[in-house]
Symmetry: C2
Subunit: 477 residues, 2 copies
C-alpha cells in the first residue's frame, strides 16, 4: 500500500482571509488552508440526507491522508475538542448531526480505490470511497463487492464500517463486519492502528479491528480497509410473489432457503399496507393484485447460466402447487426487474405528509406476526388517521416501519413507544442495522442489559478517555 | 432460556477427605465437594490431546451453571488466583497447559443443547457442549451447524468461540465468529454479560460479544451461545484432483469458485510431499498416482439433488479439458468419500518420528508458492533429513506445515524460524486459526504492530486488571 500523496497549500497562500478560531488555525497548519472551511461555508451544506437545515460546526476539515487524520485527532484530543466524522451523511439515526462547537472531520478527499487483488479477491480502499464506486471498480475486474443498500450512491465504506451496514444481501453475504478483512483506524489520541489483513483467517491475537466496526466512530476513525470480494454471479433471477398469511411467508422462506441454498441472495417482505401505499395512484405500477396481505421480492444468484432460470422457475412452480404462495411474477427484462425492486426501494409515497418516523428493529421470525400486530394496534390507538407501513429483511430478523401519525405536533416520542415498547418481550433489538446514533440513545437500555452497557462504557473510557470522538453517540454523556 | 439446574452435593457429604488448600475449600463451597478435585486426581488426566504428561493444578473445578462460574471467577479474582479454562483440550498452541499453582475451570458439566429454533435457524448451547454433539442434535431437525474440523468429537463450542475456530467449511460459512449470533460470558470479576441475541442483525450499541470471540479466554469465560444454523444440503459432491503446478491450483480454484459459487464448501490443497507421505506403505490407499506436485480434495453442497451430480461432473470435465487439472477421481460411495477425506484429515504418518512441529499460518494466495519454497529450503538447510509436509485451506489463505527435523535435540526454535521468518514480507499471520496460546507468544510481534499489541494490552488491562483469566496466553505477562 502506498499512502495517498499529501497535498497541502499551506505554503502557497500568503493571506489567510477566513476569520478562524484557534482550533481552525491548528487544522490549517495540518492540512493547508484550502482544506478547512469555517461556519459560513459549512452552513451551505445540509445537515444530512434526512435533515436539510444548514450544517453547523466551528470548522470542517478535509484531510487527504491517514497522517493528516492522526494529526487532526491528536490536536483535537489535546484541547478536548469534539470531532464528528462525516462520510456520505446518509446515517438514519442522527449520528452525523454536528453542533456549532464541533469540528467536522470529512473523509470526502480520502476516496481512492487503492488496489484490487483478483487472485486473493480483495479490494483495498480509503474510507471515504463511495460504496457504488467500489462496487463498480471491482465489477470491471469481474468481481463483486456484495454489500448493497439504497444509499449506495452516497454512503461511504467508512460509514458502512462504522455502522456495520446491512442491506439487501446479508442473507447470503453477511453484514459489513464479515466483509471487512482488514482496516486501518486512527484512535482518539492520534495513534494509527493498521490491521490491513488480507486473509479470511487471522487469529494472531485479539482481532482489534472489531473495535472499529459498528461502534459508530466513537472508538476511532476508520481510514482504510481491505474488503472481501466474490465472483460476479453468472446469472440472476428475481420474482415478486404474494401470500395470504404470515405462516405462508415463513413456510415459503424455509422452502426457498432449502431449494435455493447458497444462491438465495435477497428475500424482502412487504406487508400489504406498504405495497398498497407505494402502488397507489401516481406511484409504482402494481405487477400483482393489490389486495394480498403479504408480498415478497426475492433474488437468487447462480453459477450456471444455462440451467439457473429453469431451476428458479421450477422452484416457483412447486411453491404455487404447494400453495405456499398465491401468485407470482417473474420479470422478463432488466427494466421489469428494476420495477419490482423499486417497489421495495423507492418509498417516497409513504414519507408524506412529513414527519414520518422510520424504524429499524430486529426480532426472531417466530415473534414477528404478533409483534407487528401490536405495533399497528398501538399506532391506530394513538392517532385517528395514523398509518404504519411495514417491510423488512425477514430472513435476517429485520423489520422496518414507517409510522405516519398524520396529525400535527411532535409525535416522535409516542411513535417510538408504539414500536419499541412491545419489542422487549421477544429479546428484540431497537437497531438491526442503523445503529444508535443520538436518536435511539434513550432506547438502548431496552435492548441491552446494564452489564452490556457498562462494558461499552468501559471500552469508551479506555480508548477515548477525553470523549472527543463522536461524543454523545451510542452512549449518553 | 432457562438456566441449567444447579446440582451440588455440598449438603450430602459429611466428611471432606481431600487435603485441600484455601482456594479449593472456597470452590467446594460454591459447587459442592464432588465437583472439585485436587492435585492427585488431576494428575490422572493428560495435560492435553497433544501432551500426555500429567495435568497439573492446585484444584480443578467443574461448575454446572453460569452462576457457579461467576462465583468461582469472583472468588479467584479477589485473591489474584490464576484460572485456566478447559474445554476439550484439543488446543494446538499450549493454551490449556496449566501449572501447579493454577485453578483449572473445566466446563465439562455444562454441555447441554438447550434449545433448537427451526424457524429462526438457531441453536442455544452451553459452552461445554461438544461440537459433534451439537452437529448431530441439529441434524435431527434437518438443520446443519457448519463449523467442522478434525477435533469435532472432542472440542467444545466454548473452545471454538474462544479460539475463533476455522476448519474445512470457512470458505462457504465463515469462521466461528460469523456463526455466533449471541453469547453469554463471565468476566474476570464475576460479572455476567449476557448477549444472547438470536438475530442475524443487531446494531444496538457496541457488539460486546466480539470481545469474547477469538480472545482465548483472556477477557472472559464463555458460558452459553446462540449459534446460526443452515438447512441440511440436499446433495454433496466430492472429488480428488491433481495438478502439475501452483498456477494450475490457483486457476482451478478461481474456476470452481465461479462455476460452483455458493455451493463450493471446501477446497483443501495438499502438496505432493504430504500426499506421498500419507499414502506410503501402510498408510492410505492412493486413489491417484503419487507423483503429482499438487492434490486438491474439494466439496460442493447443493440444493438440487437431481441435477447437482451432473453439474459437478460437467465442471470437472471442463477443468480437465482446459487442462486446469491433470487427473480426477469422484468417489462412488460414502466409504470412498471418507477415504479421500481421510488422506487430508488423518496424518499420523507424518507425525513420526516425534517431535514433529505443527504450523498454521496465513498469507495472500499470490505469495504462497514462493513462501512455501522458502520454508522448504530453510528446513532442508537446517537438517540433513529434515522434512516439511504442506497442506492447507488455501482459499482462506491458510497453510499448515508439519516440520520433521528427524534429528535428536530440541529443534523447536529453529523450526519456528524456518516457518515464521519468511512470512513477514507478505503481511502473513503466524496464526490463521489456532490462536497464540503460549506457544506463539514470542512470534506475535512478527504479525502484529506495536500499536496493535498495545491496543490488545489496553483491552486486557481494562477487562482483567488482576490478570487472573488465562494469564500469559496471547500476551506475555
Amino acid at each position: 500500500m502506498t499512502s495517498a500523496v499529501v497535498y497541502t497549500d499551506r505554503h502557497c497562500s500568503g493571506i489567510k482571509n477566513k476569520n478562524l478560531n484557534g482550533i481552525s488555525r491548528t487544522l490549517e497548519d495540518i492540512v493547508g488552508e484550502s482544506r478547512v472551511i469555517g461556519p459560513e461555508q459549512i452552513a451551505a451544506r445540509a445537515t444530512s440526507y434526512w435533515n436539510s437545515t444548514p450544517m453547523q460546526a466551528t470548522a470542517l476539515v478535509m484531510p487527504s491522508s491517514t497522517e493528516e487524520v492522526a494529526a487532526i485527532l491528536k490536536a483535537c484530543n489535546e484541547v478536548g475538542q469534539s470531532v464528528i466524522t462525516h462520510g456520505g451523511l446518509t446515517n438514519c439515526v442522527a449520528a452525523v448531526e454536528s453542533v456549532s462547537s464541533d469540528v467536522v472531520l470529512s473523509l470526502e478527499k480520502m476516496n481512492r480505490v487503492i488496489e484490487i487483488d483478483p487472485v486473493g479477491a480483495t479490494v483495498t480502499v480509503e474510507a471515504g470511497a463511495i460504496l457504488q464506486n467500489v462496487q463498480d471498480a471491482v465489477a470491471l475486474k469481474g468481481l463483486r463487492f456484495p454489500l448493497d443498500l439504497g444509499a449506495r450512491g452516497s454512503c461511504t465504506i467508512g460509514g458502512n464500517i462504522a455502522t456495520n451496514a446491512g442491506g439487501i444481501n446479508v442473507l447470503r453475504y453477511g453484514m459489513m463486519r464479515t466483509l471487512v478483512l482488514g482496516l486501518e483506524a486512527v484512535m482518539a489520541d492520534g495513534t494509527v492502528v493498521a490491521s490491513m489483513n488480507r486473509m479470511l483467517k487471522n487469529n494472531a491475537g485479539y482481532d482489534t479491528k472489531q473495535l472499529f466496526i459498528g461502534t459508530e466512530g466513537t472508538l476511532g476513525v476508520v481510514t482504510k480497509a481491505v474488503l472481501r470480494l466474490f465472483p460476479q454471479p453468472a446469472s440472476r433471477q428475481n420474482a415478486l410473489v404474494s401470500m395470504q398469511d404470515f405462516d405462508a411467508v415463513v413456510a415459503f422462506l424455509g422452502f426457498v432457503q432449502k431449494q435455493l441454498a447458497g444462491s438465495l441472495s435477497a428475500f424482502e417482505l412487504m406487508w400489504g399496507d406498504y405495497y398498497q401505499a407505494v402502488t397507489d395512484a401516481g406511484g409504482h405500477r402494481a405487477p400483482l393484485a393489490r389486495d394480498y396481505p403479504f408480498y415478497v421480492v426475492f433474488q437468487a444468484e447462480g453459477s450456471d447460466a444455462d440451467a439457473d432460470d429453469a431451476r428458479f422457475e421450477a422452484v416457483l412452480t412447486e411453491a404455487l402447487q404447494r400453495e405456499l404462495i398465491s401468485d407470482a411474477v417473474i420479470p422478463k427484462s432488466e427494466a421489469e426487474t428494476r420495477d419490482i425492486w423499486n417497489i421495495r426501494e423507492e418509498f417516497d409515497a409513504v414519507l408524506k405528509p412529513a414527519p414520518v418516523y422510520l424504524y429499524d428493529v430486529s426480532l426472531p421470525i417466530r415473534d414477528m406476526e404478533s409483534y407487528v400486530a401490536q405495533v399497528k394496534h398501538r399506532v391506530s390507538k394513538s392517532w385517528t388517521n395514523g398509518e404504519c407501513y411495514t417491510l423488512g429483511h425477514i430472513a435476517d430478523g429485520n423489520l422496518h416501519f414507517f409510522v405516519a401519525p398524520n396529525e400535527a405536533g411532535d409525535n416522535h416520542q409516542r411513535s417510538d413507544e408504539c414500536v419499541y415498547e412491545p419489542l422487549g418481550q421477544s429479546g428484540g433489538s431497537v437497531s438491526a442495522e442503523h445503529g444508535i446514533g443520538t436518536e435511539k440513545l434513550t432506547w438502548l437500555p431496552s435492548s441491552r442489559s446494564d452489564a452490556e452497557i457498562a462494558l461499552m462504557r468501559t471500552l469508551k473510557h479506555s480508548l477515548d478517555p477525553a470523549n472527543t470522538l463522536n461524543p454523545g453517540r451510542v452512549l449518553s454523556e
